[in-house]
């Protein structure tokens, strides 16, 4: 009895509709190091979504990224990114995005506004995305630029943006299985 009550309470932030878990296809990021592109990927991401095509303003998203699942081009870089100057995964094992509003834009794409929490710091973030249907699934994809220094990612000697750029481009893709196409 208590367990199902707890389950219901967890759903309350996404009340109104049952939130469906999204299949995380990919969340990739890239940054320039002295001009050279460096790419990384997060292997473990969990996402909950309520999406109303007819009434997008009722949509909600809740994304959690396991920062320990980050993988970069080399073992050295993968180990380094979890250290204190970077993600500091020992203290902050995950990053979170919680939406507050979703808008449909004139060109048929969407925009979700919300709060990004990373390394103990929170900032407003607006992310453009588009929705496509492929077979029995709905695909949500898009990309945005995050400023790593806003979240003190790459602090101390790494705060100098001539070594590692401040702009981090994040690309994502999530699928939502459609129960009633």
């Amino acid at each position: 009895m208590r367990r199902s009550l707890l389950a219901v309470l967890c759903m309350l932030p996404l009340a109104g509709q049952a939130a469906t878990p999204l299949v995380h296809d990919e969340v990739r990021f890239a940054v320039r190091m002295m001009g050279a592109p460096v790419e990384g990927v997060f292997r473990r991401v969990s996402a909950q979504l309520v999406f109303e095509p007819a009434a997008p303003q009722k949509s909600q998203a809740n994304i959690t990224i396991d920062l320990n699942s980050a993988e970069l081009g080399s073992d050295e870089a993968t180990a380094e990114v979890k250290q204190r100057d970077w993600f500091d995964t020992a203290t902050y094992p995950s990053a979170r995005f919680v939406s507050s509003a979703v808008h449909r834009l004139a060109d048929g794409t969407y925009e979700v506004s919300g709060r990004m929490t990373l390394k103990g710091r929170s900032h407003d973030l607006t992310v453009p995305f588009r929705v496509q249907t492929a077979g029995q699934a709905r695909i949500f994809s898009g990309s945005f630029v995050l400023h790593r220094l806003d979240y003190a990612v790459g602090s101390g000697e790494w705060a100098d943006t001539s070594s590692v750029g401040n702009d981090v481009t994040v690309r994502f893709r999530f699928s939502q299985p459609l129960s009633n196409p």
Partner: protein
């Protein structure tokens, strides 16, 4: 007074001389940079040194292309008849070895960067295409190749330098003057 003009030392062109010493200077910087950078802990400085090392390597490659083209257009001046045949052969062989190494070493470095998945962006502007895909095993192999070829370059350079000094101070001939014309003729 005897006509000294009859005994002019044939010299390298100004361009050949300039390119020769420019490449020499770059090598003198690039090699110690490699010895230092590989021992550094992960830091912005390590990233900087690696990046500069790669830029210097690309520059040597480009300058060597230029030098070879120039040499085809304007061949090296002939050595004095007084120099024994075996020394001419040694000179030719070591110069060929140097040109080959100055192509092979930057190339192996380029393959290494490609295999590491960390592309070279020359002067932060020009991204060199990846020669191979990301490959950890190949990366390890190329590290050895790049390092061994660099050791080879060091050995040939030592020979090259000592030979030049031998010609100048022991044989007292004009071999070094050809490349360093400000030296007094013997």
């Amino acid at each position: 007074m005897a006509d000294q003009q009859l005994f002019q030392t044939p010299k390298y062109s100004h361009l050949s001389i300039a390119l020769h010493w420019l490449v020499a200077l770059i090598i003198v910087i690039t090699m110690p940079l490699a010895w230092v950078m590989t021992d550094l802990p992960t830091s912005p400085q390590k990233l900087q040194f690696y990046t500069w090392h790669k830029w210097l390597g690309v520059t040597v490659f480009l300058l060597t292309v230029l030098r070879v083209l120039w040499r085809m257009f304007k061949p090296a001046p002939p050595l004095s008849a007084a120099i024994p045949v075996w020394q001419r052969h040694m000179a030719a062989a070591s110069h060929v070895a140097l040109y080959l190494l100055l192509f092979a070493i930057p190339l192996s470095g380029w393959v290494m960067s490609s295999a590491a998945g960390f592309p070279v962006v020359y002067l932060s502007i020009w991204q060199l295409p990846d020669l191979v895909g990301k490959d950890k095993a190949l990366l390890e192999t190329m590290k050895n190749v790049h390092g061994t070829l660099a050791d080879g370059l060091l050995a040939v350079l030592a020979l090259h330098t000592l030979a030049a000094l031998k010609h100048h101070y022991i044989d007292r001939d004009d071999v070094l003057v050809r490349m360093l014309p400000f030296l007094r003729t013997r």
